[in-house]
């Protein structure tokens, strides 16, 4: 198919008086891995549910595979995989049964559904758990089962709503690795996350959402270049004194942000900025120079931290 896999124009979702998604424009190309980054309540999940053809569009235009969810929802869903925010597995059934039965919802014949299940469990490295009940599995394993389940219909497009929320670092890395492999196979990924590292790992391009609108769009690198500096100097002063200590520092670097727990100085050369701080006789309890991240982009765009 030529043209975008997903296109939205002035897309709106309202629940009564509340506008969850407020006129967003997006385009996702086939094979791309696209992210929605934003805090809770930014409108990411509402957008995903519209793309997933379960929640009707309030206003604006949405096309997936060139089809309209309002009339062709069933056909679109047949070609799409969904990894919901919370696992929706049947804890009483085995890992294998969960997948085979889910395949049946797509009218995949039982034998074929079994064959694909075996293949997918191998892909998510859970073959040895095929016969275990789902309920006692760890959070990371359940997520992997959910991802395997979402692939049973061999989707061209995979929607992942906060795929690694609540997982430990090791489990997150395993998941990222699997998702990266899917991307290499040409599956288009659409991901929502409020983790900057996740967006940087997985997304070719992303939009930063805030209060139902798109605040910025670009690749992670572009966004960092556009809205932040190369490095960030993080200073910690004794609790409650950040505001007072930072007044002397406001002209160091390009910009200074005072957060409740630390002071951030945006500068291309963090070490040089730290020398300037010391030169002014200010000695914080700790100082750290790091590379700029999407969190800084978000902070700059909205004035708020992503995870509050």
């Amino acid at each position: 198919m030529s043209g975008p896999l997903i296109s939205a124009r002035k897309l709106v979702k309202r629940f009564g008086d509340f506008t969850a998604v407020d006129g967003i424009d997006i385009e996702v190309a086939p094979g791309e891995s696209f992210g929605f980054l934003g805090p809770n309540g930014a409108g990411k999940s509402s957008t995903m549910r519209m793309i997933g053809c379960v929640s009707p569009v309030t206003d604006g235009e949405l096309r997936i595979f060139g089809l309209d969810p309002a009339t062709d929802g069933r056909q679109i869903r047949a070609r799409m995989g969904v990894v919901p925010q919370s696992d929706q597995l049947d804890g009483e059934l085995t890992v294998e049964e969960n997948l085979v039965l889910y395949g049946r919802y797509f009218d995949i014949p039982r034998a074929e559904s079994r064959r694909r299940t075996a293949e997918l469990l191998d892909f998510v490295q859970l073959t040895d758990r095929a016969k275990s009940r789902v309920e006692p599995l760890s959070g990371g394993m359940k997520r992997r089962v959910t991802i395997a389940r979402s692939l049973i219909n061999e989707p061209e497009l995979l929607l992942l709503d906060e795929p690694t929320t609540g997982l430990d670092p090791q489990a997150r890395h395993i998941l990222w690795d699997r998702l990266y492999r899917l991307k290499q196979r040409g599956v288009t990924l659409v991901i929502t996350t409020h983790y900057m590292d996740e967006a940087e790992q997985l997304c070719d391009r992303l939009v930063v959402m805030d209060r139902g609108q798109i605040a910025a769009e670009g690749s992670p690198r572009q966004l960092i270049e556009r809205y932040s500096t190369r490095e960030v100097l993080e200073l910690r002063y004794p609790a409650g004194t950040n505001e007072a200590r930072s007044t002397d520092l406001v002209d160091i670097g390009e910009r200074v942000e005072v957060l409740p727990d630390r002071v951030l100085i945006y500068a291309d050369d963090g070490e040089a900025a730290l020398s300037q701080v010391h030169a002014r006789g200010s000695y914080p309890e700790s100082a750290l120079v790091r590379r700029s991240s999407l969190e800084d982009v978000f902070l700059h765009l909205t004035g708020r931290s992503l995870v509050e």
């Binding site: 069933r74 047949a78 969904v82 919901p84 597995l89 049947d90």
Partner: protein, 261 residues
């Protein structure tokens, strides 16, 4: 590729879960009706049958023959009503299995049909259990028992589908015990299972006849005792089907609305 009807594919999920628990279920399915029949049928029956005009009041039947077939219908009602309360709210709110289904090509209407198909199956399984118990007794050993399986399934659906419409709009289970206390138990007591409803005060009789249970009880009793008449049978079946159809229409709306939230 040979396609399977969507409601059957939804049903397969419920069946898979049931397969894990049926063992704990099956003993109860035999023991309960057996205890009930011994207690009510033989115990109370011994008193009733001694009454001077009991045969006349019970339409020529012994008390045992009167109440035993009704047990088929009341069991169907009990089992399928259960299936329409907690499992529905569970699937919407806890396991989210309806949401899983809605993310696939299944439509809300197909999900509803699959749920109803499963409720009918549960009722049919339970009724079969009772029917087997009834073959132990001379008075109720009858080929008509075979017919009571579809009749029982239909009776169950006439309860479970309208109840499902209601429970699909609930966010908590707090009202479910009241449903059992104020809907199911009164029906059980006043639906013509334990005594002919012409024993009730005149104003209550039309109410009893409007409930699905009375129709289910009549169908099962007539089938077991070889007294089915075409016009009555059609009327009873028609009323039960009306309850199911109306319930399905409402369920389609409530499911579609809730799954779009």
């Amino acid at each position: 590729m040979l396609s399977t009807p969507a409601p059957v594919r939804v049903w397969e999920h419920n069946f898979a879960v049931y397969r894990r628990i049926w063992r704990s279920n099956v003993l109860g399915a035999f023991v309960q009706p057996l205890l009930y029949l011994l207690g009510m049928g033989l115990g109370v029956g011994a008193l009733v049958d001694r009454g001077t005009n009991s045969l006349e009041l019970l339409d020529g039947l012994s008390y045992f023959a009167f109440i035993a077939p009704a047990l088929l219908a009341t069991t169907a009602m009990m089992v399928s009503s259960q299936e329409a309360l907690w499992p529905v709210i569970e699937a919407f709110m806890w396991s989210n299995s309806y949401r899983s289904m809605a993310a696939t090509p299944l439509s809300p209407g197909q999900i509803v049909s699959g749920v109803a198909l499963w409720q009918a199956t549960r009722a049919a399984i339970a009724v079969t259990g009772v029917a087997i118990v009834l073959t132990f007794f001379d008075e109720t050993r009858s080929l008509g028992l075979l017919l009571t399986i579809p009749f029982g399934a239909l009776t169950g659906l006439a309860f479970s589908v309208p109840l499902t419409a209601w429970s699909s709009t609930r966010n908590t289970e707090t009202s479910f015990p009241s449903i059992q206390r104020f809907v199911i138990v009164p029906l059980f007591l006043f639906g013509g299972a334990f005594y002919p409803i012409d024993q009730l005060p005149g104003w209550m009789q039309p109410i009893a006849k409007a409930t699905p249970l009375w129709h289910g009880v009549q169908l099962c009793r007539d089938a077991v005792l070889h007294r089915l008449e075409l016009s009555d049978t059609l009327a009873h079946v028609g009323v039960l089907i009306a309850f199911v159809v109306a319930g399905l229409a409402v369920c389609r709306i409530t499911y579609a609305r809730r799954l779009a939230e």
